[in-house]
């Protein structure tokens, strides 16, 4: 905290002003990390950050400062896309992983069906998940289900080309905000 005889916070040092006892920046921008405030000031401006912090309850300000620093760093690293570049990259990763998971789950189902000796009736197929059911019932050779060849063809159909992602990078601009979980992992 500022005041006579004590070191001004990083913000007041940069802004070349007296660091008041109740300086809004002092708890979050210590003098030993001048870069932190410099980058936030460069992107958002000191007065905007001050306004944002004033509108928040005290117990939320530390997290708000951390997220502003994160966004400012991202914007300096990538002046065109900032954090949106990271969001796009992560969304792509999620899509790819979900596709891999769908393929793996289809494979497991195939293996289970191949090994199930009593699965002969049409009614037993109705106990499967909706998506699997739709694919399996599409096959007109239900009577030959237990033959190895047909099982392999079905499994191939399920695991390849059936699960496409409709992800479009521009769609992130229309994303809805949801309640964010705790943010500890980002700051460690």
């Amino acid at each position: 905290m500022g005041g006579p005889g004590s070191s001004p916070c990083a913000s007041c040092k940069l802004l070349r002003r007296r660091c008041a006892k109740d300086c809004i920046f002092a708890p979050y921008f210590p003098s030993d990390d001048p870069h932190k405030f410099a980058i936030v000031h460069k992107v958002f401006g000191a007065s905007n950050v001050s306004k944002m912090l004033q509108e928040l309850p005290i117990h939320q300000r530390a997290d708000a400062v951390n997220s502003l620093v994160f966004e400012a760093n991202a914007r300096v690293r990538d002046p065109v896309y900032g954090c949106v570049g990271a969001i796009s990259y992560l969304q792509n990763q999620v899509s790819q992983l979900q596709m891999q998971l769908a393929v793996a789950q289809a494979e497991i189902l195939c293996i289970q069906l191949q090994h199930e000796p009593t699965l002969q009736s049409h009614h037993q197929l109705l106990e499967l998940d909706q998506g699997d059911k739709a694919l399996l019932l599409h096959n007109n050779n239900i009577d030959n289900f237990n033959s190895n060849n047909n099982n392999n063809n079905l499994c191939y159909a399920m695991s390849s080309g059936q699960f496409s992602s409709n992800f479009a990078p521009s769609s992130i601009m229309q994303m809805q905000m949801q309640d964010p979980p705790k943010q500890e992992s980002l700051w460690t």
Partner: protein, 121 residues
């Protein structure tokens, strides 16, 4: 005043020059877009950022700045960092589930090979 002022110059109550840096990206038909971005970044900072970018990248920059500003207005504590956190969690959960499913496949395939060997013998 020029009735065809861009949204930025209208908001800032100033004349909109021919070479206004904001006018290609803030049409008068969408006043909220500039209002939101100005609230978070300030007109001066936006102008500086745009000036430092090649002209062909400015439209994308404005789009991403608008998105981040909107996220910050809707979530003043975490902004768009909240979305990043959600996606990271989703990735971790999907990776865990994928690893589990792949392990199940490996076990099932091993069992199947063992069964085939014992049937052959």
């Amino acid at each position: 005043m020029n009735p065809k002022r861009c949204a930025a110059c209208k908001y800032l109550r100033r004349r909109c020059p021919k070479d206004c840096i904001f006018s290609p990206y803030f049409p008068p038909s969408d006043p909220d877009k500039f209002a939101c971005i100005h609230r978070i970044y300030g007109a001066g900072n936006i102008s500086k950022m745009l000036q430092q970018l090649p002209v062909q990248t400015r439209a994308e920059a404005v789009k991403s700045l608008s998105f981040e500003a909107k996220c910050r207005v809707e979530d003043p504590v975490y902004g768009c960092v909240g979305i990043i956190s959600l996606l990271q969690t989703q990735i971790q959960e999907t990776q865990t589930l994928l690893a589990k499913t792949q392990a199940e496949i490996a076990v099932a395939q091993t069992k199947h090979s063992q069964t085939q060997i014992s049937e052959f013998m």
